[in-house]
Symmetry: D3
Subunit: 263 residues, 6 copies
């Protein structure tokens, strides 16, 4: 029978542990490797409502990108949302596994999928950290090309293709031709993007000073949202698990949407 261990092993084939950053926490963070699995819920985050959805649906496993526990926990109580999430999982005998920076950096992971969604071509890994056995480079950021277009056209494209409800951006003054992408909080990588000849950077969680740094660099900087830049990997991950384990029911979370709205 398929167990948590089997699915974890498969996920770590897609996103090997060795590709994670030093400070990261990935793998089995709650539950038991031995639990037999018939239903898997896949989501970007293991937030409390996702844990509740998994329990309501009868899943034995949640697979997420962000870790259930990031800063080690001094307690597990109903006074924090992490504590409530863990208590929900344990009471329903649900395990939680994740692939975080290993999935960001892996070939075919978060950032390759983001590049693909944005229809970039000639996509390359910026400053690769290593090479897989198959000779594929891996690393954090990706750069690729689009037909030259005004920024406005590209903003429209990003908004539509990522299903965003809005964007924040800074106009670096150039048309869009070569685009660097980094899902989540990757704006620190702007100098790498410039060095690679990019005119545009798509990422999220951009701060005031970073928009101005982009302005000074003449780089178009687009904050497309942490959720919207990383969530594209979720259905892909679900499909891959479903394909590998046909006897298991795999579903993308229906309750998990970004809680941030634009006005």
């Amino acid at each position: 029978m398929t167990t948590v261990a089997d699915i974890l092993k498969f996920v770590e084939t897609l996103a090997p542990r060795a590709m994670k950053m030093d400070w990261d926490n990935v793998g089995l963070l709650c539950g038991s490797r031995k639990t037999p699995v018939t239903k898997v819920l896949v989501a970007l985050d293991p937030f409390e409502h996702v844990c509740q959805e998994a329990a309501a649906w009868g899943a034995e496993l949640i697979v997420t990108h962000h870790p259930m526990i990031f800063r080690p926990l001094p307690n597990v109580t109903d006074e924090t949302s992490i504590g409530r999430g863990i208590m929900t999982l344990i009471r329903s005998n649900i395990s939680a596994i994740n692939a975080h920076t290993n999935l960001d950096q892996a070939p075919g992971g978060v950032n390759d999928e983001l590049a693909k969604r944005l229809a970039l071509v000639n996509v390359q890994v910026l400053n690769p950290c290593g090479t897989t056995e198959n000779g594929e480079s891996w690393g954090l950021l990706r750069a690729g090309e689009v037909p030259e277009q005004p920024l406005d056209a590209f903003l429209n494209r990003v908004n539509t293709l990522l299903h965003c409800e809005g964007l924040r951006y800074e106009n670096g003054g150039n048309p869009v031709r070569k685009v660097c992408v980094g899902g989540g909080s990757c704006a620190d990588g702007m100098p790498e993007a410039i060095a690679a000849g990019c005119d545009t950077f798509v990422t999220a969680d951009v701060k005031y000073n970073q928009f101005w740094d982009a302005h000074d660099l003449g780089l178009n900087l687009i904050d497309a949202g942490h959720f919207y830049t990383e969530n594209p990997i979720v259905p892909i991950l679900a499909e891959k698990i479903a394909a590998a384990f046909p006897e298991v029911e795999v579903k993308v979370s229906e309750s998990h949407r970004d809680c941030m709205k634009f006005y």
Copy 2:
């Protein structure tokens, strides 16, 4: 004749150095205390275009909230925007002074002005750091009340009153009655806001996880933009300097707008 020293002394009456945070850099950061001053340009930031505007206008002094130099500089060259800004100032014999966290925390400073703009009443300093000689509390955050209203009505109010071009927010599920404000990046203060009984927090530079933390806390969290939450102090500061030095021409920067846009 009025000098840079005179105006700096006056600004530090409004925002005493003793109110700054340990890590901050405030006061005279470029030029000379002895320079006679006839024209002062006031702006939120000493960005390169602000320095150019000052030079074009013939100012001898710029007064800003953010510091000209935040991380100490290893060089002053035309390869960084800070270097170019400093070179512009020095070539035009312009000095630069600033009041940063001391102005955030001072009575009548950034956050009192933000509270005032939002028409909060019964405004109080959260967790005061001290008391002035006049018996006024000072500290970072402010909390005050508004007539009870749906979040949507309050969002409209914030957008209008701060002249924002858009907002990002998370709906904590409660109507708005007691509001905490912190211009710039103050979302770390959410637990303080909750402890003070606030249902709503207005700040900026909010990250994905912070929106979810607010969600878990049942707090309405509004990102009104770093520029829009801090800029209200700029005309006030200009007016106060103009009133104190009638012989000096004081102007708010005309070129300085937020470079971040919404799509």
Copy 3:
């Protein structure tokens, strides 16, 4: 109805949080303050078998000296005994509270009880850390007197009174008259004991070098076991909780014995 919060509040009357050491983790470490409580299991440690005993007995709360979580946890899985313990508690809806160094240091706590069991007289706190509202000193170690006796007689007394199965000791060369006690790993306090005029020190977890340090100091050093020097507080704590909450059933763990044996 009596809740976890009520009992925690009572325990922190006996051993105020303010008496804990900086690095310690005490209070509610698992479960919920709101859980109604009818049965409380009290034990020195929240080890896995204690959690199982609590679950089997139908307790809603365990009260221990050592914390459920000491080093913050990166995961909660069945691959560690702490993870298994927490999972057992959560599945049976049992909360866990503890008082650790606050109970060591409190008047009437671990070390006062140890002194009492050994029938020390004129007991005093060594190097007090503070004074309670009632004017009682508090701090880590206690020193008191016994009728002068050979070390061998005192060893027999310790072994009998603490129900040890054996002792390890070093003979400092003096008869026993003034004794310092510190339950658990307190041998670092030897210089304090010497400074207070003690000839004998009772503690636990003593290392090779520490026995030789005692030898050099001419101090009798007795390792009576971590369990045996701290466990005396357990029935006292159980009695106090039972007296304060007559409607609640309170029991000392029956399964928890020291796993260390002598050969």
Copy 4:
């Protein structure tokens, strides 16, 4: 004539400096490399009474496992036992050399001798740190096999073979077949022992929590005493020095016994 330098050079052939741990202090710690040597006293520790024995016997050199100075000394006075030991040596013109973690880790060193005394067979270095020129692995722990036997039988064997006066142990619930050994304070190596398939671990200075960790791991953990697990190397070392320097009188300390006793 044989000098301190000659004997040090020989000892560091047996236990090369390159095998010591980074934090360790080994080699000539007191006296002079040039001193001619006719009598060598060998002991586990350079404690004060060992220094006195060396002086009384007329030795010019003591060779020990533990270093004369571990934490660098702020003074050399008669107010500490280390100070008194050094003063005794210097006044009698005695040098002190030692091999500590280099001797623990060397082939034929502390842990190989401990394995040999316990009659382990198929002994291997756990997680070797390197390989000598002769192709021998070196590292801290050793694992080897014994004929399968109940824990009680093995306890008897350890007690007898190491001449202990008692043991402390925890019963992991398994018979003894594969044993890991680490003289001194090596219980941190339990995960390594488990990973190597050991059911039993012999070491010393075991703390309360470590006995419980062993319990949770199902590992028999035996604290045979720091002295008794490391002292077996002492006569071996004495013999090797005597064989290499037939003109020198070599003696094992007669005064050095463990000061810790069981009751």
Copy 5:
């Protein structure tokens, strides 16, 4: 009979331990508090030749300003001059005590004596660290006045009064009227000297950049030598000990001169 303890106690009346800097090592650093003393050698440094002089003269105690051990020692061997010095002392049963930064900072200590030698008047402690029971300020630097004179005249005066064989200096461009003094390496105190209105600073171990800093500050900076600025306290200390212990023979080292020469 007079012992080391008696003399140490007296020295620490002149220069209380509480006046030492945190990182310093003072008091009894070698030997025994109980040694009876008939001859005391006083010197600035406990260098090897001073230890030899003490042994040759038959002293039982050396009293110095600099400590015998500054960085804690990993060994005591004849391969370092500190080791050789300690071995010389121990073999001749000589103890070593010292008063270092406590003597720099004490009233009547190193820097007061330096000010006195230079005939400064209206001498004050710069930035006092505290006040003695007698109401005297104490701290590191001293400032005092001289009749206004050209720098050249003052250089001559320093050279003569301190018995220097030469000086290194930088001409700050002002005549000498108010002088700051700090024996040894005190040039970091230049801003304090400027703030106190001094035009001249006498200290030692001055580096290239420090001479230029003085140049930029318009401060005359004189490097009169570490030995020559601190040695004046030595005969004073000897006299005070001699006066307090008339039964003891006290002598200033005859062998200790500065090893640095000018060409």
Copy 6:
């Protein structure tokens, strides 16, 4: 036309950036790579008066050994000499480049030139850090030979050849035959010098304890001044730049002398 970039590129051929120490700051520290250059002022230090000389002469570039900014700057004002220097440069459109530890370590750099000036033969790099493409070793110190001579003769030679106004030295007790040189503050390298068989060390900024360390080591230690040991590279550097850029006027600073004098 020749630009700052061209000359920087040339200087970094002589002293590649890869040869600098980690903590150092070298290259373009003020101004612009694009500035056309007709006049270059070369000096050891970019002190304020050197900046003024450059401005008065009409230079567009200063090339120095020491960096314009060593500790990153929190401000650029007329209240510090570095601030005044930078303001002078910027107002006259002068750039500043430097090669510091890269020039110390490079073949043909500061220390090779110092060895050459002192007419050392068989000069070698001590403990080389690497090898250039041409197979030349590079690193900090140099050692070379002189005809055996008394220390006094060598002192005379150093004083004359380096145009010093005086020397400070310690007599190690040996004639001079093999000399280690390190311009600036290199006395920490004494053990390396001894290990290389040197009897004499020429460096600068020597402190009291270092003279005594040399005394204990039997090493002649000569402090020839920071300026005098490093300045020999300045005319060489000027010549090389002049040769490479014949269209540019290159001059060694006329105003820059050591501000330190002997009395």
